[in-house]
């Protein structure tokens, strides 16, 4: 006998940042939504491994769907983050030219920004560049400032969307992979990895790197995803004073270059590389990749290299043979594909969700903003410039657990770890706990604290130890 069949208005396949945003938006329209992901946590694919920049869209292709959605998404996400207490720092960006070709390209990039509706980009002279960023390596030339570029806590974004969807009544089914699909009369029947089936009137494919594969399950072949890997190095917080804003490369015909950016957690990022692969699971770092990043970093910000690297990771962009997002609506099949969301999906997520709501409306669904949540969601303050619990005397007085620091590098308190472990969307592994609290994300990488933190999880009945339960 097959397990029971559940029925929903909408099935969203993929709980990355974009899938979570869509689930939240459609749930608010009063639809009964199920959000599925093969992984054990939301935002556990490409959405957890990016450069965490809230883009203005100044350098997108003018007139493209991506341009529109990034520009709108920027505003929507900034508002959402402000109301949900998600860390954003409007630090601005500076494109620095290092040779004649790059210097000559600045004017065109400013014109492109204007074509994208972004009017605040301005060219600044070489002296001013060095004055603003005194730690730049020798040889820098003119620059283009883009004051609107911001940095954001990427992990809390996916989580906040998912939690809001959950509070609105959505079902979140994690660790459930969609293996196939069959049309049964008016509805889609999704076949899951455990043999269960699930019915939905509408299916939204937000499968990221596997969006093409899911697209084919629905009989469509309009694009193929080629994973484009981006390796990144994260430097110690002690490197943070070396820069005042995001330092962007000037893209030319030959190379895209790598950026150096602060993070809202107080670190410095160097990356990403761009390598086309054929394995959607290959998030390894490589000798060549690390060497290339260090070479680039040495030129831009030489002092960076004497600081400690506290993390190395890689994310895979869902690149396709097309230059734009692959968003398609097939109303007669009640199927929407949101694929090929390559390198701006974090920023564009909420605008993509609005766009999808619009596509459903065109097809006759009522997707007006209906329900509002009873209370606005408040995410834990993980940003370095926010008031962290261990620094909040009033909070500690109410609950001393917020004063008991368990992760010393990141100053994470036991209280915050308890909150994450007991939340409505608890972590499924140690990495999930890191994304929710920053615990074990610091320079010691668990030398001091990992065992104690795992013990807290044990006590809460969660097995987060990647090597197994304690004996």
């Amino acid at each position: 006998m097959r397990p029971a069949i559940t029925e929903h208005d909408v099935a969203v396949i993929g709980a990355g940042v974009v899938g979570c945003a869509i689930a939240r938006r459609l749930e608010r329209a009063g639809l009964d939504v199920v959000l599925l992901d093969a992984r054990g946590d939301v935002g556990d694919g490409t959405s957890k491994a990016n450069t965490a920049i809230l883009h203005t869209g100044f350098d997108t292709v003018p007139g493209s769907l991506e341009s529109t959605l990034v520009t709108t998404g920027y505003k929507l996400l900034a508002e959402h983050a402000a109301s949900a207490g998600i860390a954003v720092e409007p630090c601005g960006a500076l494109l620095v030219a290092w040779d004649e070709e790059q210097d000559a390209a600045l004017g065109d990039i400013r014109d492109k920004a204007i074509a994208n509706g972004y009017l605040d980009a301005a060219i600044i002279d070489a002296d001013e560049v060095v004055r603003r960023e005194p730690h730049l390596g020798p040889g820098s030339r003119r620059g283009l400032e883009v004051p609107g570029e911001s940095i954001i806590d990427p992990w809390s974004v996916s989580l906040s969307f998912a939690i809001e969807a959950l509070r609105g009544g959505a079902t979140i089914a994690l660790g459930r992979e969609v293996r196939g699909v069959e049309a049964v009369g008016d509805v889609h029947q999704l076949l899951l990895d455990d043999g269960a089936t699930l019915r939905a009137r509408w299916t939204i494919n937000v499968g990221g790197l596997r969006s093409d594969e899911i697209h084919r399950m629905f009989g469509h072949h309009s694009f193929t995803v080629t994973p484009r890997r981006g390796q990144l190095l994260v430097f110690d917080k002690l490197a943070r004073p070396l820069l005042n804003e995001i330092l962007l490369p000037v893209p030319t015909e030959r190379t895209k270059g790598v950026l150096v950016s602060p993070t809202v957690f107080g670190n410095v990022l160097l990356g990403p590389t761009a390598e086309d692969l054929d394995d959607i699971g290959d998030t390894a770092s490589t000798e060549d990749g690390i060497a290339a990043l260090l070479d680039a970093g040495r030129r831009v910000l030489p002092a960076l290299l004497s600081e400690e690297v506290t993390a190395i990771y890689a994310g895979l962009r869902a690149a396709t043979e097309h230059r734009d997002f692959q968003i398609e609506s097939h109303p007669s099949e009640r199927y929407v594909c949101v694929g090929g969301i390559r390198s701006t999906g974090l920023t564009a997520s909420m605008a993509i969700a609005e766009h999808v709501a619009g596509l459903l409306a065109v097809a006759g669904e009522s997707t007006e903003h209906g329900r509002e949540l009873d209370a606005t969601i408040v995410m834990p303050p993980l940003g370095e410039t926010q008031r962290r619990p261990a620094r909040d005397a009033a909070l500690i007085e109410r609950n001393p657990a917020y004063g008991r620091i368990v992760c010393h590098c990141e100053q994470v308190s036991a209280g915050e770890v308890f909150d994450a472990l007991r939340s409505e969307l608890p972590p499924s592994d140690l990495d999930g706990l890191r994304r929710r609290t920053r615990a074990c994300n610091g320079r010691c990488q668990g030398f001091y604290c990992s065992t104690e933190i795992l013990a807290l999880a044990d006590a809460a009945g969660l097995d987060l130890d990647p090597l197994g339960w304690s004996r």
């Binding site: 690297v309 190395i312 001393p400 004063g403 620091i405 990992s450 065992t451 795992l454 304690s470 004996r471």
Partner: protein, 409 residues
């Protein structure tokens, strides 16, 4: 109203250095000695090092790390030291120390603050080891803590490093029934006591692979193996393993020191100090593994006492900053302590370590062209302590040029 008495001395870190300094200050009659420790228990690193070999230099008998830690804590508290756990020193500024803990956030204004925050092993990211991100890569410190908490360890381990602490990791793994499939070092030999390689091979069954480095870790969810490269031939091969232990490669826990604006020693990466622990800021002293990564617990403990004696003797006067002549090192000397030499603060010895293996036989200290002292090297291996009698410091010309330490045949 409750009268608030400011502590005379606040010591940050209840490891061997901090606890020994505190106990000695009390023995010398100093009141108001407070030690703050961010962990919920005092004792520092030895708490997790469950094997013999601690206390020989300072307590004159050998005991296990945890017992040693307990002895130091008992001694300090019996002498009236106020040891406060779960309290983190978060900021030092203008003679004040900000303390954060479950009791709230407090700012104290001691006469002197001693930083004794220790050192840690560098994790995989800092060593830039590429590859997959599967679980099972840890430092020795983590391995020991896991063992103490009865958490599962792997079955087949590769240990990176071949210094004392690496053999300590190998012993622990063997004891837990795991096999050590390789000990890998980029050096031409191990860096532990003579005969460690034989013990390693015969008893620990841990083959030592010298002049070899780990160039990749394989395994997406769990570690499945490593790729090793023989450095001379560039030949690579895969070794199956489920655990990679990254041992040694220490770095001082220097955040507080750096954020306080102390002048740092680029070689030790700890604050620049003289033999009395004085730093570039008059009200802050520093000692232990924070200023020399790393020495034994006993060496740190004795140094803590030394700092305390110098401090107690000078407490009547205004404290002063380190002004001694700079001691620089030339490769392959990795670092030397103390980084400032002052004829009025003669250390028991000048400590130093090498960065690579050398066949040189002597260490020479010079001020300009004048030779201050020459010593035969006890060994030519990195990661292990070497010493020159401290009396050399007495002959330093305080108004003269910088001093250099180098090795020669």
């Amino acid at each position: 109203m409750v009268e608030v008495t400011e502590p005379t001395v606040v010591i940050v870190g209840a490891g061997p250095t901090g606890l020994s300094a505190a106990a000695e200050l009390r023995r010398l009659g100093v009141h108001g000695v407070v030690v703050v420790e961010r962990d919920k228990e005092p004792g520092g690193i030895p708490r997790f090092t469950d094997h013999q070999g601690f206390g020989i230099q300072d307590l004159r008998r050998s005991m296990t790390g945890p017992r040693y830690a307990t002895s130091l804590v008992r001694q300090a508290t019996a002498l009236g030291v106020d040891v406060r756990c779960a309290v983190t020193a978060t900021k030092l500024a203008d003679g004040s120390v900000e303390l954060a803990g479950p009791a709230g956030i407090e700012v104290v204004r001691p006469r002197v603050t001693i930083l004794a925050t220790g050192a840690r092993e560098r994790p995989r990211s800092a060593r830039l080891i590429p590859g997959d991100r599967g679980a099972g890569v840890m430092t020795t410190g983590q391995l020991q803590q896991r063992a103490m908490a009865d958490r599962p360890l792997g079955r087949r381990a590769v240990i990176v490093g071949a210094e004392h602490v690496s053999y300590s990791a190998a012993m622990l793994l063997r004891h837990q029934g795991a096999s050590v499939v390789a000990m890998v070092t980029e050096q031409p030999g191990h860096q532990s006591v003579a005969g460690a390689d034989i013990v390693g091979r015969m008893w620990l069954k841990a083959p030592l692979m010298t002049a070899t480095k780990v160039v990749e870790i394989i395994g997406r969810r769990r570690v499945e193996g490593v790729v090793l490269e023989e450095m001379s031939t560039k030949r690579r091969r895969r070794v199956d393993a489920d655990t990679v232990v990254l041992s040694g490669d220490w770095i001082p826990d220097n955040e507080l020191a750096r954020r306080s604006g102390l002048e740092m020693d680029p070689m030790t990466r700890g604050p620049l100090v003289d033999a009395s622990g004085r730093t570039s800021t008059s009200s802050i002293l520093a000692g232990g593994n924070l200023v020399h990564p790393v020495e034994t617990a006993g060496t740190c403990s004795l140094e803590g006492r030394l700092l305390a004696r110098a401090l107690a003797a000078g407490l009547a006067d205004d404290p002063r900053s380190a002004t001694g002549v700079r001691l620089h090192v030339r490769a392959p000397v990795a670092w030397a302590w103390p980084g400032r030499l002052d004829p009025t603060a003669v250390p028991p010895h000048v400590l130093f370590q090498l960065s690579t293996t050398t066949t040189a036989r002597h260490a020479v200290m010079r001020q300009g062209t004048r030779v201050l002292g020459t010593t035969r090297l006890r060994h030519g291996r990195p990661g292990r302590s070497l010493r020159i009698p401290g009396t050399v410091a007495a002959s330093v010309d305080p108004g003269g040029e910088d001093v250099t330490l180098e090795v020669e045949s």
